[in-house]
Symmetry: C2
Subunit: 228 residues, 2 copies
């Protein structure tokens, strides 16, 4: 990692808390439908509907709410009360209105890297929602460029690098998802540092043996040391 | 318009058909609820709910579907059938799966400008949906850069210009919406060409007297002539 010029940070669960809000909503949602189905089964159906809709809806809260609504239709066999749908809509609005809770060390590390590197935000998810979180976070000033990506496959990173006019060997990605932030970045010949978060969405999980070698740090502030 | 270096094109209803699909869906949706309320009133309520949700949901089909669902809850006073919600979800999926219908002259003008100018796509709406439409359109190869904007206020255009490293006097925007593509662009000291489309969303309408002077062309292919 001698020639790093651009450092990109993932946002959700790397800079700020995200996945726990989805988990809490899933829990409340499955409770809502427990008269129809055991809570665990509700979550299994919701997850499979989300996966089926992913190509069409993409990542983010709006697609999640639409999948909750579809889950209600399926589980109640179209005979449930509209009140269930109303609750799902409210869950979504609550999530969109959540304050941003920064993870430890984030502000400091971004400040310390700025000047020496081009610091970029590279995140999946809904454009408006991510922009809103960035503004709420107060971190906007640290970023040279914000890239909201519809996916994080190797080809998506290649597009980002082309757009940033950056060679693979000059690019470092920092994030919590091995599947989205680490493996595809290593695949294109760039560098990646994994900052694990305690909660990972099932869709982002990878099998242990798929893992290549890459630095793992416990706290994001250690990224600065790795670069020295 | 002597020193134009970057030309940005709006997408929906500038390059391809969009608003008529929303109108057709609104019509089908209001028919669905006509047992509860006259069709015109359904649309009025849907529009007001959309406007109220705009800050939270942003532009695009997913937010539109969520607003349709909320309209069902309101109009049926929570007593409607889940089948109505199921229909709204289907309307949304149909819209997302629509083929892209290019407007006349689009391919030719993009091809003719390429090489002489940096040609950019600058559009509001949902990231994934706009990317999908761009791929379906076959126009991707003509664009140097794709910018999906969460809004099109003067400050959003200033951010885009900063990001493109382009001075206001070197920037030309081409689009169908006076409110989003023309006025804010003139306000920051750049150029804009209006290509009217026969259908305009109520939210995008501006009063005549607000208009400043700017070129209006009937067909997008005339943009090339204006630059000569």
């Amino acid at each position: 990692m001698k020639n790093i010029k651009v450092i990109a940070f993932d946002a959700d669960d790397t800079l700020w808390v995200n996945e726990p809000y989805f988990r809490a909503t899933e829990e409340a949602f499955s409770k809502l439908l427990k008269a129809y189905l055991p809570e665990e089964e509700v979550n299994t159906i919701l997850f499979s509907i989300q996966m089926r809709n992913l190509e069409l809806y993409g990542y983010g809260i709006k697609g999640f709410v639409l999948s909750m609504v579809e889950t209600i239709l399926k589980i109640t066999e179209g005979k449930g009360d509209l009140e269930l749908v109303s609750k799902a809509i409210s869950f979504g609005k609550e999530m969109l209105n959540k304050p941003v809770e920064l993870l430890e060390g984030v502000g400091e590390v971004l400040k310390s890297l700025n000047g020496d590197y081009r610091v970029v935000l590279a995140t999946k998810g809904d454009l408006l929602d991510q922009e809103r979180k960035l503004i709420k976070s107060g971190l906007e000033k640290h970023f040279h460029h914000i890239e909201i990506m519809s996916d994080k496959k190797p080809s998506d990173y290649q597009k980002l690098l082309k757009h940033l006019d950056c060679k693979p060997e000059n690019f470092l990605m920092v994030g919590n998802s091995v599947k989205s932030d680490i493996l595809p970045v290593l695949e294109i010949g760039s560098y990646a540092v994994h900052v694990p978060f305690h909660t990972t969405w099932a869709h982002e999980e990878v099998k242990k043996d798929e893992r290549q070698t890459f630095p793992v740090v416990e706290n994001i502030s250690e990224v600065a040391n790795l670069l020295k």
